[in-house]
């Protein structure tokens, strides 16, 4: 993975930068020894690793602000990091950048039931928010599979989804406000406890900005009351196509399940070995469909979904009998990614979205690609919203396999775009999909996106090397950018 060239002037000033950081953050919060920085060399996309210049773990917003303004003044790059669970390398260090870890920001600041919201520090885990309010019958809706560990600050940066976002929306739909430190050190608050924001929707701009625009230091999220009833249905199909077809049919019938997930045979096997949820091991495609709401509605919908599934050839239809069983049905799905670790030393988890109606052909084509690249692929994904998560199994100790896995991954994402989908559903672009941005966007699109970046961070100091495939200097964007001596769209008349 090619990253921007390191700045020798910054590397030469390392000890000075470390000393400056120590003056801001006392104690163990500055890590500059090689051995100590090693655990920070990657996030959950461990195929790509890079030692940072230095790691700093501030504890207060004032420290974050001082660090950023120091970095702005001294033109030092900064990579923000939450829980380090990114699957797109969003928090992978950069060699001449400080790694700004927010792990110490782990307190729930306020729970406001009257306004149905919680104000938390960015290092609080996604599940930690729900845990803090569950005794009052509330929860925070977006639930990425890594919710046990991923931080809410990271969720904002990546606009994370989860199995229940089909019905309840992504992070952006459940976020009310943030406090953010800009690269200049300025602390700004966007949104609040209310629904709409004054002026432009800057909160929307920040959500999913992948750490390129600012560092989130506080998050206010919406709390929802837990549905009175929720039941999950396991639907086993003899073919993957049958399962995929059922997904489109359920949505087409007007039902919006709380969640609708698909796992292929191999994923079912791994997850079953970990949790023992009672998944049908003979099914080629397994759907977990959750229906929630008042009991009468849920009973009716369960029957409708079962009917549709049987019509599409389902061989297993099992409805959860109680809350414990419902949670168990989900436990396997939630742990499915790492559970695949049981059968492979490494995997690459992809994240693309396709229109639901094209699921059948996309899955079939992926199987063909698997043969071509001679690597196994396991599918676990948010079928309801067409968000695919193919896991490519490989052995990182074998250089050729890593290379083939990258090629395979790129082919899958190109396929997603070709059928009318997008590169990323919820994991973000990071470094993983950076070089494929051109497949999705034209140069003009990318330039416009870069102008937004320039408005917040004209020196490209925040999370460099991520998201954008090429470095575009902000000053150049006023003019026509010429790449490789080729004028973009030469047929367009210019003034």
């Amino acid at each position: 993975m090619q990253m921007p060239p390191l700045d020798p002037a910054i590397l030469a000033r390392r000890s000075e930068i470390v000393a400056a950081l120590r003056a801001i953050v006392p104690g163990e919060g500055v890590i500059d020894d090689l051995e100590g920085m090693r655990p920070y060399e990657c996030d959950a996309l461990s195929a790509y690793r890079q030692m940072p210049l230095v790691v700093v773990l501030p504890e207060t917003v004032a420290q974050v602000s001082t660090i950023l303004s120091y970095c702005q003044d001294n033109k030092v790059k900064v990579v923000p990091r939450g829980a380090g669970t990114s699957l797109s390398g969003g928090s992978m260090p950069v060699g001449d950048a400080i790694l700004l870890g927010l792990g110490k920001f782990n307190r729930v600041l306020e729970i406001d039931y009257a306004n149905r919201c919680a104000r938390v520090q960015p290092g609080v885990t996604n599940l930690g928010i729900s845990k803090a309010v569950e005794h009052e019958g509330f929860y925070y809706a977006p639930d990425p599979s890594s919710q046990i560990a991923c931080s809410i600050g990271g969720n904002v940066a990546e606009n994370s989804g989860g199995v229940h976002c089909l019905k309840y929306g992504l992070t952006t739909n459940n976020l009310l406000g943030i406090e953010l430190v800009l690269m200049t050190g300025e602390v700004v608050r966007l949104g609040g406890k209310h629904l709409d924001s004054e002026g432009y929707d800057l909160l929307g701009v920040m959500t999913g900005s992948e750490g390129l625009l600012g560092v989130v230091t506080e998050v206010t999220v919406r709390l929802l009351r837990k549905p009175t009833t929720a039941r999950a249905v396991l639907l086993g199909f003899p073919t993957e196509a049958g399962a995929a077809d059922c997904v489109a049919a359920v949505i087409a019938s007007g039902i919006i399940p709380g969640g609708m997930e698909m796992m292929d045979k191999e994923a079912v096997k791994c997850a079953e070995a970990y949790v023992g949820a009672g998944y049908p091991l003979d099914a080629e495609g397994l759907l977990i469909v959750e229906l929630d709401g008042p009991p009468v509605e849920v009973d009716y919908l369960v029957e409708r979904v079962a009917e549709i599934a049987r019509g599409r050839g389902a061989t297993t239809v099992r409805v959860s009998n109680d809350e414990q069983e419902r949670v168990l049905f989900w436990a396997g799905r939630k742990a499915a990614f790492p559970a695949v670790g049981q059968i492979t030393p490494d995997y690459m988890c992809l994240d693309g979205s396709v229109p639901r109606g094209r699921l059948v052909e996309v899955l079939a084509e992926m199987r063909e690609m698997s043969k071509k690249h001679r690597l196994r692929v396991v599918n676990v994904f948010h079928a309801g919203d067409g968000n695919l998560h193919p896991l490519i199994l490989f052995d990182a100790n074998d250089a050729d396999e890593l290379h083939r896995a990258e090629e395979f991954g790129a082919d899958i994402l190109r396929l997603c775009v070709r059928v009318g989908g997008v590169l990323t559903g919820e994991h973000g672009v990071g470094i993983e999909k950076r070089d494929l941005m051109g497949v999705q966007f034209t140069e003009i699109d990318l330039d416009q996106q870069m102008r937004l970046k320039c408005a917040f961070d004209p020196d490209h100091l925040l999370n460099p090397g991520k998201v954008f495939p090429q470095l575009r200097r902000c000053a150049e964007l006023g003019r026509v950018v010429v790449h490789h001596n080729k004028m973009p769209f030469p047929d367009i008349p210019r003034f």
Binding site: E35, A44, G84, F105, N106, S146, F337, A339, G341
Partner: protein
Amino acid sequence: MQTHFTLAQLADPETARSNDILRKCVHCGFCTATCPTFVLLGDERDSPRGRIYLIKSMIEDDRAPTAKEVRHVDRCLSCLSCMTTCPSGVNYMHLVDHGRHHIEETFTRTLPDRFMRGVLAYLMPRPAAFRWAMVLGRLAKPLAPLLPATSSDPGGATFLRRLRAMLEAVPDKVPTPSPVDRPQVFPALGVQRKRVALMPGCGQQVLAPEVNEATVRLLTRLDIEVVNVAGSGCCGSSVLHVGRNDQAIELAKRNITAWLREIDGAGLDAIVINASGCGTTVKDYGHMLADDPVWAEKAKQVASLAKDVTEIVAEVGLSGIVPRPLTVAYHSACSMQHGQKLDALPKKLLREAGFMVKDVPEGHLCCGWAGTYQVLQPDLSRRLRDRKVANIESVRPDVIAAGNFGCIGNIASGTGIPIAHTVELLDWATGGPKPAALI
């Protein structure tokens, strides 16, 4: 994850096993969230994923670790919460034991640190010496407030701070030795249904002799013959957790020899352990001696017979219950819920015995005792204890139950709510005396 061991390195069985463990880790980070030290400190180096990295680096490069690396591995409680959370099946327990062993062999600790660890490693497995130390400690305990209450070294604990923690852990009254802790046979009260060996343990018989007494009463009442086998003693866990593998292996061999003699003699249906920390270790004897051709099979045989006392009680079933209408907060010891994966069973037995059982919020987090940890890492230990006590008190129990004497003493030091071993409550509910903590 990718590893870089040479073939020569992989020829060492311990390294080969660690390589297999590392290759299972996919670096997802799930473990960080349930790790008590990461929850407190928020630093990747104080999380399982970070420690896996630190240990990988030191054994891969086959070098002495730096003092900072050692500090972060030392902070691990060995609570094994990460292993319950890990979906990839990474055996962190064996990896961290390898890391500690590597540290012990290649790293030179400061003199006060060595002295403190040496004292603990000497005393812990020897009940008689441990008791004398407690008696002497009792005399010195009034001096504890004169020692520093916090460490001047934010990364670890200074010698005097540890000394204070050690003195504070000394009970106000050192109990007299119990007659049940001498080798002997306790016949079943009715027609014998099973015959088991009771692991006599080490620290527990000094600090909480009532636990073995209650166990003998309960099991014999349930028609189980109980043998306290001559030659059996400390399981070795306390020394294993400070990296002294050789000493731990010697203790394991002593126990295996003693129990095998009994197995080949009058026979045993199980080896019953009522301190869950010891249970985790005895159940792992097969791994500990896997590379020793003479002992491997014997160790496996003994490990397969090891059972927590609640497992054996569940096998025969409770009878003659006199319900006691008390609300019990059940504290699931880490060695019980994470080490032995026994979480629901003790609670089920307590419910069957007529108690109202309540789960404790953040039940997966360690209480901070963790054997020698409370002395070696007093500040982190105390923070975890206070957090645990606050969580327990939030459910307003009449009594707290736990299956590990260390947790019991530790939690008792922070709350006024009575606390008893699960076995004491089960004994009481089936006709035994009321636990001393409730009187």
